[in-house]
């Protein structure tokens, strides 16, 4: 099973990951190879086996709705690539 160029491009678009031509070709090879290896799972009979999402016996952990102090805005914004006063500055979403 070999992935097509279009499939790799489609996955990259879903992930919003930019790739060069070389990267795209290499990933096509490598992912095809890895996915083929994963076919081993199809041999396992999983009829009536429930999926496991995590391994601990906890479910629906809730917290009290309590007001607590949060980090100062300056601390939160300190790593912002583009800052505008109290805001993160982003590129225009709507033209």
């Amino acid at each position: 099973m070999k992935l097509s160029r279009e499939e790799v491009q489609h996955i990259a678009l879903l992930a919003r990951l930019g790739l060069t031509e070389t990267e795209l070709e290499r990933l096509r090879e490598q992912l095809s190879n890895i996915l083929e290896n994963f076919q081993i799972l199809q041999q396992v009979d999983t009829t009536d086996v429930p999926p496991t999402a995590q391994s601990i016996p906890l479910q629906n952990v809730t917290k009290d709705d309590k007001v607590a102090p949060s980090l100062p805005a300056d601390d939160v914004l300190a790593n912002a690539p583009q800052r505008d006063g109290e805001f993160f500055r982003v590129k225009a979403v709507l033209e």
Binding site: L14, R16, L17, L35, V76, A80, Q82
Partner: protein, 485 residues
């Protein structure tokens, strides 16, 4: 013995009785870092100033009689745990300049006990890798042979301990990232049960698998560090509200009557002959010490674990790493006015090859049309793997396996073939899938290269594996060997 060679418990005894000050010990470690770091490259950041400040504070605490086993003892933290005011890079271009505004819970806990942080350890980018070769900055060298990898992803942490740059280290383990490098560097490494240690402030890779744990010079130190970092944390809803025992209390050399299983699926083709010989010898030693060792254990889904892991971990990673959008923190591509282009280029230039590969793999496994065949299927086989372990632990107190199928491999050897690299985690991965605790301890050498033994325990059964590891360690000398750097 020179200060930096001390274990935690040795250093503690000297600090407590004022035969050694934290400042002296810290300076010894910082000097050692200056000596060996140009050869091993274990640290992304050396935190001299912070360390000296913390050491002075520790000495004041000790003078007041306020001494915890970790007070004044130098530690290295893997660079994926947030340290307030100290850059935390995940060895990625994406976070090369990220300075966290808060502490990870484990770091907070160490600081409350007067710890001295001397550096942040190199790793595979975002903890994805088995050799540190996927660090965006540099590759860490194995102190036992500088032409070989130290293992990964916590390779910097393992080397910092093996090369005596610090007295102990913290690492994180998603598929073997504490145990495999600990085995490759001949140090002790523990992955606690999933939920035992808070993940708050640990940069997320695969949230259902990640767990923080200690890398130390012996088993006693491992128990001491676990005592300090284990426990419920309201900021991590997957940490469990169970009581935490004093793990040093279980360290006895008496393991008579303990039942240890050796699963046959872990002794298969592909394992290096010297590794198998060393493990057989270690297993004989456990029998000599009085354990009941049985070879009838079967974990038949072991050969499927690798595929399960490399579907589940990248799937979770692809969701977790979607946050690196160049808006709130981290690298940000600015050379465009187009939002989508900025997003795509931020990831393109911010992430390295292995991270991109896993994002792609995970996105594929979660995408429409493939979800059932890959992600859901992997989750179902995950159930079967856990059930197998549960059955084994009805009969056994622990399961023993090699940590890795080979001794440390050459730098560059597996970089062109991702699948070969993934295979180096084949013995450590099932533990994360099932959420179990496991410890790796030194169990021999082949031509001067370390071999590790892994002991796997039942959920929240850290005490049994620490006890067996301690008994073995006290009956052997492997952990006392030091590399010549």
């Amino acid at each position: 013995m020179i200060g930096y060679q001390l274990t935690i418990h040795q250093a503690h005894n000297l600090l407590k009785t004022r035969q050694l000050s934290s400042l002296e010990l810290t300076r010894a470690c910082l000097e050692r870092i200056r000596q060996v770091e140009p050869k091993v490259h274990a640290l992304v950041t050396v935190t001299d100033e912070l360390a000296l400040r913390q050491a002075e504070k520790a000495d004041r605490l000790i003078a007041q009689g306020d001494v915890h086993p970790l007070t004044g003892v130098p530690v290295v933290i893997k660079d994926n745990m947030c340290t307030k005011g100290v850059r935390t890079t995940c060895s990625s271009r994406m976070l090369a300049n990220f300075v966290p505004p808060y502490e990870a819970t484990v770091v907070e806990k160490l600081n409350e006990r007067g710890a001295v942080i001397v550096g942040k350890a190199n790793m595979d980018e975002f903890a994805m890798g088995s050799s540190t070769e996927h660090s965006a900055f540099f590759t860490t060298q194995n102190p036992w042979d500088l032409s070989r990898v130290p293992g990964g992803s916590s390779g910097g942490s393992a080397v910092a301990v093996a090369a005596d740059e610090a007295i102990y280290a913290l690492g994180s383990d998603t598929g073997g990232s504490i145990r495999q490098p600990a085995g490759f560097c001949s140090v002790t490494g523990l992955k606690p049960t999933y939920g035992r240690v808070s993940r708050y402030g640990l940069v997320a890779f695969a949230s259902s698998l990640d767990q923080i744990g200690p890398l130390t010079k012996d088993v006693t130190d491992c128990a001491i560090v676990l005592n300090s970092i284990a426990g419920y944390d309201s900021r991590d809803s997957t940490s469990v509200p169970y009581p935490t025992p004093d793990y040093t209390q279980c360290l006895t050399t008496d393991i008579k009557g303990l039942r240890i299983g050796v699963p046959k699926e872990y002794f298969v083709a592909g394992m290096q002959a010297e590794v198998e010989q060393a493990l057989r010898a270690a297993i004989n030693k456990l029998e000599e010490l009085g354990a009941n060792v049985e070879f009838e254990v079967s974990l038949p889904h072991t050969p499927h674990a690798l595929a399960v892991y490399y579907i589940i971990a990248p799937s979770e990673a692809s969701a977790n790493l979607a946050r690196y959008d160049g808006v709130k923190y981290g690298f940000s591509y600015q050379d465009t006015d187009n939002m989508w282009e900025a997003l795509e280029k931020t990831k393109q230039f911010g992430f390295g090859d292995e991270v991109k590969r896993r994002i792609m793999l995970g996105t594929y496994a979660l995408s429409a049309g493939y979800y059932d065949a890959y992600y859901l299927k992997a989750q179902k086989v995950r159930t079967l793997i856990r059930r197998e372990f549960d059955q084994a632990f009805e009969k056994y107190d622990a399961v023993v396996t090699p940590t890795s199928p080979t001794v440390p491999f050459k730098i560059g050897e597996k970089m062109e073939d991702p699948l070969q690299m993934y295979l180096s985690d084949v013995f450590t991965i099932p533990v994360n899938i099932a959420g179990l605790p496991a410890i790796t301890i030194p169990a021999g050498f082949a031509d001067g290269l370390p071999i590790g033994m892994q002991l796997i325990g039942k959920p929240f059964g850290e005490e049994a594996i620490l006890r067996i590891a301690y008994a073995y360690e006290q009956a052997t000398e492997w952990h006392k060997r030091k590399p010549e750097i």
